[in-house]
């Protein structure tokens, strides 16, 4: 008896067959599924956003807001605090930088990103000096998980900002106040001088108008006439501004030095780790000053990186592997550029790299030699696989 024949003797076989025959007769025409999933994702998480600069708004001497409007008329929704990774091309080099969106989520006509000049910043120089209305860019869709999560965050939020780290909070503050949301925000915002404060007038204005928003700028190098709080965001200052530190979730966004300073201060006032949310921060300005950097390697040391199946590339120890690859025209997807999201993951086949603190690598990735190229600095000649 052939296998087909004995199957037919199973009880219920004919019934199931008949059921299938009827279902096929009246069933689903799957040709209509064509393109459906892709279309759906274009509404929520498009792979690429095409943005045009609608306006350039000067905020301070060193910072401007670029108001980005959609080229095709649609921007996906985001949660206040998320960022886009903006792609920039200059002299044949395509690189990218993540920028928090500073406009509110309910403002669906544009995304504001606010850029502050970075010393010797290849990208910030381009964005601040050469970009004008009408220029077009590509970016990723909004990403990241630095936002208010009602499932376990307190309704009372304390936002600790340093410098341009105020941008994600600006989006949150605008959302909470404009929409009359049932949350309170304390913003403690550290800047070097009074002139460096971004959004100062708007923040003062909102604090005056809304009872659920408290604004406390803190100046580390105050002028003689400065009337704001001065110093750094330490335990005493937080106690003074907040009075009660219980039942609050703390959010930190600023340069890496600020995290090193503020985390122990938060511990001093008894804030448990689960109530502290930290936005990622970019690579340190000088990687060779990071703890653990091998002293015998100079930041200027140059190594050769050979890409399996591709070309060989020159890379300096003081620059991330991702940047070196981009400079040489090798395409590696990138998103957070802070070592966390794993988009720029490559396999290290031979050689050594330095990985700074804060890199989130899967355990089995580490065991198999994968690295996040945005947070890996060559310490020898390398061979990698994309």
């Amino acid at each position: 008896m052939s296998s087909k024949d004995f199957m037919k003797q199973i009880e219920g076989f004919d019934r199931a067959r008949e059921e299938m025959r009827i279902c096929r007769k009246y069933g689903i025409d799957y040709t209509v599924e064509k393109g459906r999933a892709a279309h759906l994702m274009e509404m929520l998480h498009p792979r690429v956003l095409h943005l045009r600069v609608g306006a350039v708004i000067r905020e301070t001497a060193t910072a401007s807001t670029l108001r980005m409007v959609p080229v095709d008329g649609y921007l996906p929704p985001f949660q206040a605090g998320q960022y886009i990774n903006l792609f920039i091309e200059k002299n044949g080099v395509r690189t990218s930088r993540p920028y928090s969106i500073s406009s509110a989520p309910h403002q669906t006509g544009y995304y504001d990103i606010t850029v502050r000049r970075v010393e010797n910043g290849f990208v910030s120089d381009i964005l601040l000096d050469t970009v004008k209305p009408g220029d077009e860019f590509e970016s990723t869709s909004p990403s990241g998980n630095f936002y208010y999560n009602p499932l376990y965050h307190e309704k009372s939020m304390v936002c600790l900002a340093g410098g341009s780290g105020v941008t994600p909070f600006m989006s949150m503050i605008r959302e909470v106040t404009d929409r009359g949301l049932d949350r309170t925000i304390h913003l403690i915002y550290g800047s070097r001088g009074e002139d460096d404060i971004i959004f100062h007038e708007e923040l003062k204005d909102r604090a005056a108008r809304y009872g659920n928003f408290v604004y406390a700028p803190v100046i580390s190098e105050p002028s003689k006439s400065c009337s704001e709080l001065s110093g750094f965001i330490n335990a005493d200052l937080m106690r003074k501004v907040l009075r009660d530190t219980g039942s609050k979730t703390f959010y930190l966004c600023g340069p890496s030095g600020m995290y090193d300073f503020c985390m122990p201060e938060l511990e001093k006032i008894g804030i448990p780790a689960r109530r502290v949310r930290r936005e990622m921060f970019g690579p340190p300005r000088d990687i060779t000053a990071e703890p653990g950097w091998p002293k015998e390697v100079s930041g200027a040391a140059e190594f050769s990186v050979s890409v399996r199946g591709g070309k060989a590339v020159k890379a300096r120890a003081g620059e991330s592997l991702l940047s070196a690859l981009e400079r040489a025209g090798v395409v590696v997807p990138a998103l957070c550029r802070c070592g966390e999201c794993s988009m720029c993951r490559v396999k290290l086949l031979s050689g050594r790299v330095f990985e700074p603190r804060g890199v989130l690598l899967r355990k089995s990735d580490r065991a198999c030699g994968y690295i996040h190229s945005c947070a890996a600095y060559p310490l020898s000649d390398l061979e990698i696989m994309l």
Binding site: Q9, I10, F13, L40, N149, Y152
Partner: protein
């Protein structure tokens, strides 16, 4: 001369075992994966101090070295057993209906029978008889279906011929009275996606038999460790993998596979493709509606897209013991009506039955000391989520997640207070990362009419093979196994015998 002997599209469970099988068999193989990480569902992601397992809850079919299950043999053949650690669980699951039922079944036949008899003494004799039936039936199934006994007949294997396509609910009704008992025995139905009324007894018996005999397993460092190990096997045997590179087209010539065009526009010639993507996407997008044989669409017409899930990935700032969690696998049901629970998979109002997996119970290294990692799964079809406007998507996610956490709190009070990280995935998240219609990680719904007994797979495009949940049934073991079978069939097709 082709560019490659074979091209595998998709590095999910099925694609990985297919690719590793092909490379080990001496075929010059290319593996394309549009993501930057291999694994498909079998992956992990990092948040804060935690690395979250995305999809694996209880790996079936492993068995131990003395009594290896079918999956262990497959993985042994792919050289990963010495590089990946598989951790057995002692128990099947704890099942709770708050205030009404709380029972734990060990991964042991007698232990399970006794636990059930203790809780349901009035049905004591029938409980023993039911498990006798499951075992006797499944042993017959092994002889007929897996070992292909040439003398198979109704007389020789009466149980098989009587029950193979029977509705599991009818058998549960025949043996048991208490609906709580029926739910306890059949709680694994969620691993198949259809309730006992629609689940063939072959499938229910397989779940019960396999998990008891071969034990449920977890993987050290999560399923990503297995995915990474399979990639290593593939590369060590000369395979070439391209991440961030999807397939855009499968080109046919005279009805046979001739080439694959990548999403970067590169044309690669090959006579053999193993597809590890969903069947509708493969025909609609890669082969094209015009080139797909009509009968393939006819075949699909009769099947429906299976469920996806609403999943919470949670990092806790305390140990499982502090939460009162003593089992890795916990089912929490709001009620005992499995048909209604199935209906509730199509709305986003109230969760009916959730799975709470706390990996640290069997693997203390699943997260840093003093913390634990938990995944909460609620099976859901994508439809209601497709109707949520993008602007309300985030708030709907939080609203429903809150309901799911309410149900968790009824069994583990104080749960919310310990959340340190949480990430919410919906069926839309699964659509985004898997590319499957409906985010259906189990593939098509598996009703009796969809059984392979009724519809033996037919190959209609020469050189095209399928691996993964859309070709087999859903779940890790079936996907991994289907890939190695597809790989072997592909080797035969290209004239390599394999090693």
């Amino acid at each position: 001369m082709s560019d490659f002997d074979a091209i595998v599209i998709g590095a999910g469970n099925g694609g990985l075992t297919a690719a590793a099988t092909l490379a080990k068999g001496g075929a010059k193989t290319l593996l394309l994966e549009r993501h930057n990480v291999p694994g498909g569902c079998a992956t992990s992601f990092c948040r804060g101090r935690f690395e979250f397992e995305v999809a694996l809850h209880q790996l079936s079919g492993m068995g131990d070295e003395k009594f290896p299950g079918p999956l262990r043999s497959v993985l042994h053949g792919l050289d990963v057993l010495d590089r990946v650690e598989f951790i057995p669980m002692k128990n099947l699951y704890r099942l709770v209906i708050p205030g009404r039922l709380d029972i734990m079944l060990p991964a042991d036949r007698n232990g399970t029978v006794e636990a059930l008899q203790k809780r349901f003494p009035a049905e004591s004799a029938k409980i023993r008889e039911f498990y006798d039936l499951v075992y006797a039936f499944f042993n017959q199934l092994i002889s007929v279906f897996y070992l292909r006994d040439p003398e198979a007949s109704r007389e020789k294997y009466p149980l098989y011929f009587k029950y193979a396509l029977a509705s599991s609910q009818e058998i549960l009704d025949e043996y048991f009275t208490d609906p709580l008992l029926k739910l306890t025995v059949a709680a694994y139905w969620g691993y198949m996606g259809v309730p006992p009324r629609f689940l063939t007894f072959s499938d229910l018996a397989a779940l019960i038999f396999a998990y008891i005999e071969f034990k449920p397993y977890h993987i050290r460092n999560g399923s990503q460790a297995l995915s990474n190990a399979l990639i290593e096997t593939f590369m060590n045997n000369g395979g070439e993998v391209r991440f961030n590179c999807g397939a855009a087209k499968i080109g046919l010539r005279d009805g046979a596979v001739a080439e694959v065009v990548t999403d970067r526009g590169e044309r690669l010639t090959t006579g053999c493709v193993v597809s590890n993507i969903s069947t509708p996407v493969m025909y609609n997008e890669l082969i094209g509606i015009e080139s797909t044989p009509k009968e393939k669409y006819e075949e699909m017409r009769g099947s429906t897209i299976g469920p996806s899930s609403f999943t919470l990935y949670i990092g806790m700032d305390c140990t499982p013991a502090e939460l009162g969690i003593g089992e890795t696998t916990n089912f929490i049901a709001a009620h005992e009506d499995m048909d209604r629970a199935f209906t509730q998979m199509r709305d986003i109002d109230e969760p009916a039955m959730i799975l709470v997996s706390c990996y640290n119970v069997s693997d203390p290294g699943a997260s840093p000391d003093g913390t634990c990692q938990i995944a909460v799964v609620d099976l859901q079809y994508a439809e209601p989520w497709l109707a949520v406007p993008p602007s309300l998507y985030a708030s709907e996610k939080y609203r429903y997640a809150s309901k799911v956490l309410d149900l968790v709190e009824r069994v583990f009070p104080g749960f919310r207070k310990h959340i340190e990280e949480i990430e919410v995935a919906t069926p839309l998240t699964h659509i985004r990362y898997l590319g499957h219609p409906g985010g259906a990680f189990y593939g098509f719904d598996q009703y009796a009419k969809d059984s392979r007994l009724v519809n033996p797979p037919v190959q209609s495009i020469a050189g095209l093979f399928h691996a993964g949940s859309w070709a087999a049934e859903g779940g890790f073991q079936p996907s991994l196994t289907s890939g190695s079978s597809a790989g072997r069939a592909a080797l035969k097709h290209i004239g390599k015998r394999g090693r």
